[in-house]
Amino acid sequence: MTRGFRIAFKAAIILIAIIAAVLIASMILWLIGAKVGATFYTICIAPLTNMLHISEVMIRAIPLCIIAIGISVAYRSGIINIGAEGQMAMGILAFTGVALAFPDVPRPLLLPLALLASVIGGGVWGYIPGILRAKLNVSELLSTVMLNYIAAQFYSLCLRTIYLDPAEKVYGTGTPQSMRLTENVWLGRITGRLHYGVLIALVLAVLIYILMWKTTTGFRMRASGSGARAARYAGISVGFYAALSMAISGAFAGLAGGIELAGVHRRAIEGITNNYGFSGVVVALFGGLHPFGIIPASFFFGLMIYGATLAPSKVGVPANIVQVMQGIIIIVIVTAQMVLSNTYFQDRVWRKYQSLRKKEA
């Protein structure tokens, strides 16, 4: 098989996938009577046309990226963490707690302290299902989902009670939110709303790459994930690494929450988690469970999430429809990835191609 053929094969599959995704999505848009071309432009191209839009895409990509990297660590260690949503919420609560408790501590100390609190908050929330699985063999699917519910309600409770903005009590509007956090926990901004969290995300990606592929700890975690039985027979404490990977995974989700608060919202309100915890699972898989695949994947998802917010005002397409289109695009792309990794299929096409050429000759 020639190199040229391999590249052509991949390009052809990708092209077919894109055409298929566009066709199906267009059909839906056409059915609801929307302008097909304008909608595509608004969702896919417009967000990339100026720096303001790009920075908005990136601030959505930051939490996705950090969460997905954490999820990939757990996934590679044999645990599927679908509790990032709850872990992120706990990270936000911990961050807010520190910020509210010590408003006067100077920024060089308070910001790292608050971020550390969010790491611990998410980490503990991730460690619980990890240790339950390691010691008692409780399915992490069950425990993480249940802990999501608990975290969501606890979050809601805190915003309405101990964290509630005193001003809300005075005015009596009753919006469940904390007061604006002290400037000492704010993350600086680069341009527009884009904050330095983007650098943190990139550094974390490199660190996780080193952890998973260059250290003995990462070797053991991957061994536990790819072949738990063989790992145990080789003296690796599979349970320990399961719990550790979940703690790391949770810590990343918690940190994503802390950064989101410090960089974007700067006060705890409802809806900050914005389903990032669940989208993170898709981003992690989409990025091939590798930090350097997750970076572009999270940008792509950030683009789609932001595109969905633009569509209603610009072309009158409801955000729900945009989400439907996104679902289709994701399914098509994942399918294309599967086809691309199927060497048997590639080989069959190669032989067909050769026999065609023979006939021509």
Partner: protein, 505 residues
């Protein structure tokens, strides 16, 4: 009804996989009352050929003829309809269903609109059972049956579904010696009713059962002929391309101090019954002790207890003066224990890891392969290159996923890892199960070599020949206790067989 299959021929079959020519212009034929043995080393293309016959793969070239008429199978369904039935190496049975229910699953003619006529299925099973002498209890659950019984169920199932031609893929690889003998007798009776192709690399069986033999090597037919005209040695030589003589333990026993002392240990099975009940055995340095026994008599639990993978309820296990019972697997390994586990694909290697990574699975944290937690890539690579060369591991490269290798090469990866660690003691469980003669020869040689270097070995096996060839002493295990320990010169196949069956001398 006269729809017997009188002849089946495959002509000039060629099949390519990415980078491999799996079948290269292969022709075989089987006629009425015949048994064709399809012989070859692992990876020679036997299974691929049968998968083509069953319609699981499409051949790139060539044709299949039944009763001299050309047939085309687009899938296994077509092959079933034509009367071909295959019993796979791994049985396709639902464990929490009864024999009757398992057979009813595929028995479409008993399916009424919303129910299945179980009476009809039962009648059919009884008919087949009595016709071929295949005794099964239709109401037994699959999980209650031994491997040999499960295989009989597979046979009954295949025949019930209308097979008029049988294909058996390594039918004896998981059977005990007694079950193997029973199966051969059974198949001999059946061949008068229907032609059989059976895949094997055990030459005694080929000799005992088949009329014709076809030998494959690297996807090509290298030999075809009547079984009776050739000796086992001649067939073995044709199979591997060179003469094979399995090495024997002839060196005199210069064993030294006690290496491993197992002192009346009691270990529970997964079913919470006593798998080992006051089991005692001692093995000296530089000695191979073979543990013979029908599988399921506590061998697995013994190996796991020694290696810290299973709790020892009472008793002591002493390795060179150090008590190791109930230590963690990590600590047992650190004490100098080497282990070739029973399931090489799931217990011996991490399949998706590269050969290189599997070779350092136990030692990644040693100073040699890491520094303050960072892996030394160069050392890892050099180690892999050296071991691949030294143990003749045939692979495209050290980064190849270990799980994609053939059984023999996987076992060599495990052997290389375990022996290169310079263990003080080695537990080898079924080290050559399912391997071809070439690989068996290699592994036996290596085991004898490390015995010479003064390491004690506990060899757990069902192959009496293997045990008798290699062991200085032979212990027979029966229902979790040692039945008797014999010296090499006292042991005969017959005597071991009687002891394995539980008869006290």
């Amino acid at each position: 009804m006269d729809n017997k299959i009188r002849s089946l021929r495959m002509e000039h079959i060629t099949k390519r996989f990415p980078g491999v020519l799996a079948s290269d212009d292969i022709s075989i034929s089987v006629g009425e009352g015949e048994v064709l043995a399809l012989v070859g080393e692992n990876g020679a293309g036997k299974t691929t050929l049968m998968n083509i016959l069953m319609g699981l793969y499409q051949s790139d070239e060539g044709r299949i003829l039944i009763n001299d008429k050309e047939v085309r199978f687009r899938g296994p369904e077509d092959a079933f309809k034509a009367g071909l039935g295959m019993v796979h190496q791994t049985y396709m049975l639902v464990h929490n269903m009864t024999v009757l229910e398992n057979i009813a699953l595929g028995y479409k003619s008993a399916w009424k609109h919303t129910s299945i006529d179980m009476g009809e299925v039962r009648d059919r099973i009884n008919e087949i059972s009595s016709r071929y002498g295949l005794l099964v209890n239709p109401d037994a659950y699959i999980w209650q049956l031994s491997v040999g019984e499960q295989q009989r169920v597979e046979l009954v199932k295949t025949l019930c579904l209308g097979a008029r031609f049988l294909i058996l893929d390594e039918p004896t690889s998981a059977l005990t010696p007694q079950e193997t003998d029973e199966l051969i007798v059974l198949l001999k009776n059946m061949k008068n009713e229907l032609p059989i192709i059976f895949i094997s690399h055990k030459l005694q069986e080929v000799k005992a059962l088949s009329n014709k033999v076809t030998i494959l090597r690297h996807g090509k037919v290298v030999f075809s002929g009547n079984t009776d005209d050739y000796s086992s040695q001649e067939i073995a030589a044709k199979m591997t391309g060179h003469e094979i003589v399995l090495p024997r333990n002839k060196a005199e026993n210069k064993s030294g101090e006690t290496a491993l002392e197992i002192d009346s240990i009691t270990v529970m099975s997964d079913m919470k019954t006593k798998a080992l009940d006051g089991f005692s055995l001692s093995i000296k340095a530089g000695e191979i002790v073979g543990l013979a026994g029908v599988s399921g008599n506590g061998q697995r639990e013994l190996a796991e207890a020694i290696n810290g993978l299973r709790h020892t309820a009472s008793g002591r296990i002493v390795l060179h003066g150090k008590e190791i019972q109930n230590l963690s697997p990590h600590d047992v390994i650190a004490s100098g224990m080497g282990y070739i586990p029973e399931e090489r694909n799931t217990e011996g290697i991490v399949p998706s890891f590269s050969i290189m990574e599997n070779l350092v699975l136990k030692d990644i944290s040693t100073e040699k392969f890491s520094d303050k937690g960072i892996v030394k890539k160069k050392e890892e690579e050099a180690n892999a290159e050296r071991l691949v060369e030294g143990f003749d591991i045939r692979c495209p490269g050290i980064m190849t996923a270990a799980g994609s290798l053939s059984g023999g090469n996987i076992q060599k990866v495990i052997l290389a890892r375990e022996l290169d660690r310079k263990p003080k003691f080695l537990v080898a469980v079924y080290p050559t199960r399912g391997l071809d003669m070439g690989a068996v020869e290699f592994i036996h040689q290596r085991l004898l070599e490390i015995r010479e270097s003064g390491i004690g070995i506990l060899l757990i096996s069902e192959e009496l020949e293997e045990i008798m060839n290699l062991s200085d002493r032979i212990a027979v295990i029966y229902k979790g206790t040692v039945q008797k320990v014999l010296r090499q010169d006292e042991a005969t196949k017959e005597r071991l067989g009687i002891l394995m069956a539980g008869v006290k001398e």
